[in-house]
């Protein structure tokens, strides 16, 4: 699933550049509230879908992507049922006559260029690789919707909840483990969540930056006390067979705690706090067991 996959060094560098650009573009807009807020907003990216559903004024958002209705990726399946679904194609989106399209920076470039060429305003939101960028994302979407006050309230609440969830003290070894041996190394949102909740990321220590492969052998040798794996999709795939590999099962049995990552881990929304809370609870339970 591409949305949940953290980015590489190169991509992250690109994000920072785009981020800076987005921040500058926002500056003047908040000073001069000349334009009326958009009234027909279409979101074509899973993460902007959820932020827009949380921040938009009633009736302002008309369509979200089909991924917002996938329980394995989206925390807001019920809310998404109230909107028209789109599959992100330029033709389909244009025919909805939007005055604002919310997209990710990695949304198909051709689609975004086509829509821009047709005179539709497209705001591209970069993925969040840090908790600070999550906050930035909330502000960017809020500002694009003309809902700065709501976004600011969301940010304040998010930051205070996050601070309350931090687990101080000794760090226990932990790892994220996904299909094909994919994991989150240093400089990823998952890595920051692990650190915040009293864990240290064995993938980061193995020298991995960004997302990448941690061979099963090396995961076994690192013997993490906490392991987070993903929920398998329906249908079979060889990529996911690694999650039921006897060696991984043994690691999970030996680890004091194991969790499944879910939709709450995917996007930088307030639902991320559920993921953080789960990890913080697991860390405290680990402490109590020792």
């Amino acid at each position: 699933m591409s949305v949940s996959v953290p980015s590489s060094d190169l991509i992250r560098a690109a994000v920072l550049v785009l981020w800076a650009g987005a921040a500058m573009a926002d500056g003047p807009a908040s000073d001069v509230p000349a334009q009326a807020p958009p009234s027909r907003v279409v979101s074509i990216n899973l993460c902007t879908d959820q932020l827009a559903m949380l921040l938009a004024a009633p009736g302002q958002l008309i369509s979200v992507s089909h991924l917002a209705s996938d329980p394995l990726s989206s925390s807001m399946v019920e809310q998404a049922a109230g909107y028209v679904q789109n599959r992100g194609g330029a033709e389909q989106v244009y025919l909805m006559h939007p005055d604002l399209v919310l997209a990710g920076t990695y949304t198909a470039t051709a689609t975004v260029e086509l829509l821009t060429g047709l005179g539709v305003k497209v705001v591209q939101v970069p993925p969040a690789d840090t908790l600070a960028q999550v906050v930035g994302q909330m502000r960017v979407v809020g500002s694009a919707l003309g809902r700065d006050a709501e976004a600011e309230a969301m940010v304040t609440r998010f930051q205070s909840d996050l601070a309350a969830l931090a687990v101080p003290g000794d760090k226990a070894p932990a790892a994220m483990y996904y299909p094909n041996g994919y994991t989150a190394g240093a400089g990823t949102l998952s890595d920051e969540i692990l650190t915040l909740t009293g864990f240290h990321n064995v993938a980061g220590e193995a020298g991995l930056t960004g997302g990448g492969i941690l061979p099963l052998e090396r995961l076994v040798m690192a013997a993490p006390k906490m392991i987070v794996t993903s929920t398998p999709y329906p249908g079979q795939s060889r990529s996911e067979e690694i999650l039921t590999h006897p060696a991984l099962r043994a690691v999970r049995d030996k680890a004091a705690r194991a969790r499944m990552s879910d939709a709450d881990w995917v996007c930088g929304t307030p639902y991320l706090l559920n993921a953080v809370r789960g990890m913080a609870d697991a860390r405290r339970a680990l402490e109590a067991a020792e």
Binding site: S237, E240, A247, A250
Partner: protein, 328 residues
């Protein structure tokens, strides 16, 4: 030369098997890792050796032997140097069978469904090849039949994977076409090994009759060879050996083409010697390729078929070049 061949091949396979056990992304000591193979419950080293490296090495050995042996048997029966499980579409139909079993959920309901479906897929194409190419058919009809079967099976496999509700499935088309032994477990070994061993036993039992067949069909029949029975043994043996290999390791090409060719001059062209020699040679080639993928790109799942094709394709072209004069 023939007498020295078997000990040399066996020693090569043994060395490569141990190398496969000793090479991996986790740096383990030599003594420590070998003793971990025989220890009971234990720490991470035991887990790595017994649950990750051992199944990989065992599958490398068995899959290579199955491919080498089936290549030699098909070439012997068809008396055609281009017969090879990968090239004539047996591997791709086995992959189609395996993918259908996995995506329809049958394999999850009943574990043996996976090797059995792959076996059925392989069996259908061996049967088709023998019917279409016939025993009198030349290299051309064999290759054309093979292309048609491979293309159809490959397209259907891609279709099934694209239609899967699992987003990873569509990314695995390459795996089913190129093969890989990464992250296999003992469960896969237990599932596939009985079929591979049985298939190989049936193929090895055809050795004497294949010897007789080198004299021509009429001569073979007058020597008491039951051609229908021989054909059935080649079909079932190849289907079981290749089908089970593909079900757990994907379709690895060229092993069954290259190995019998390299070894044929060394055994004086006798199928009864070529069959066991090709099994050993195939095992050595696959173990070597699997070690190479781990050395070249330890953190990426480089596909086995990439390496075997790098060796096999030039070899194949060389064969075509030599055949040009014969066919024209």
């Amino acid at each position: 030369m023939t007498r020295a061949l078997f000990p040399v091949l066996a020693a090569l396979v043994a060395v490569l098997f141990f190398a496969s056990l000793l090479i991996g992304p986790a740096a383990l000591g030599l003594g420590e890792s070998l003793s971990a193979l025989f220890r009971g419950e234990g720490g991470p080293v035991v887990l790595v050796m017994q649950e990750i490296r051992l199944p990989r090495a065992v599958l490398g050995l068995l899959v290579g032997a199955a491919l080498g042996l089936s290549g030699a048997a098909m070439q012997g029966f068809l008396r055609n140097p281009l017969a090879e499980p990968g090239l004539v579409g047996v591997s791709s139909t086995a992959a189609l069978g395996a993918v259908l079993a996995l995506q329809s959920g049958v394999a999850a309901a009943f574990a043996l469904a996976l090797p059995l479906a792959a076996l059925a897929g392989a069996g259908v194409s061996v049967l088709l090849i023998l019917l279409l190419a016939g025993r009198r058919g030349g290299a051309l009809s064999l290759i054309l039949a093979g292309i048609a079967i491979s293309a159809l099976a490959g397209a259907l496999t891609s279709l099934v994977l694209n239609l899967s509700p699992n987003p990873f499935a569509a990314m695995e088309i390459v795996y089913w076409m190129m093969g890989s032994l990464a992250d296999r477990s003992m469960e896969h070994v237990w599932l596939a090994a009985p079929f591979m061993v049985l298939g190989m036993a049936v193929l090895l039992a055809t050795a004497r009759n294949l010897d007789a067949l080198t004299l021509g069909e009429d001569a073979a029949q007058s020597l008491g060879v039951d051609l229908n029975r021989l054909r059935l043994m080649v079909i079932l043996g190849t289907a079981a050996a290749v089908g089970a290999s593909v079900a757990v390791a994907g379709a690895v090409g060229f092993v069954g083409l290259v190995i019998p060719h390299l070894l044929r001059p060394l055994v004086g062209g006798r199928p009864s010697l070529l069959l066991p020699a090709s099994a050993l040679g195939g095992a050595a080639m696959l173990l070597a390729a699997d070690i190479a993928v781990r050395v070249i790109a330890p953190d990426q799942d480089l596909k086995l078929g990439v390496l075997t094709a790098l060796v096999g394709a030039p070899f194949f072209l060389h064969l075509i070049w030599r055949l040009r004069g014969v066919e024209a």
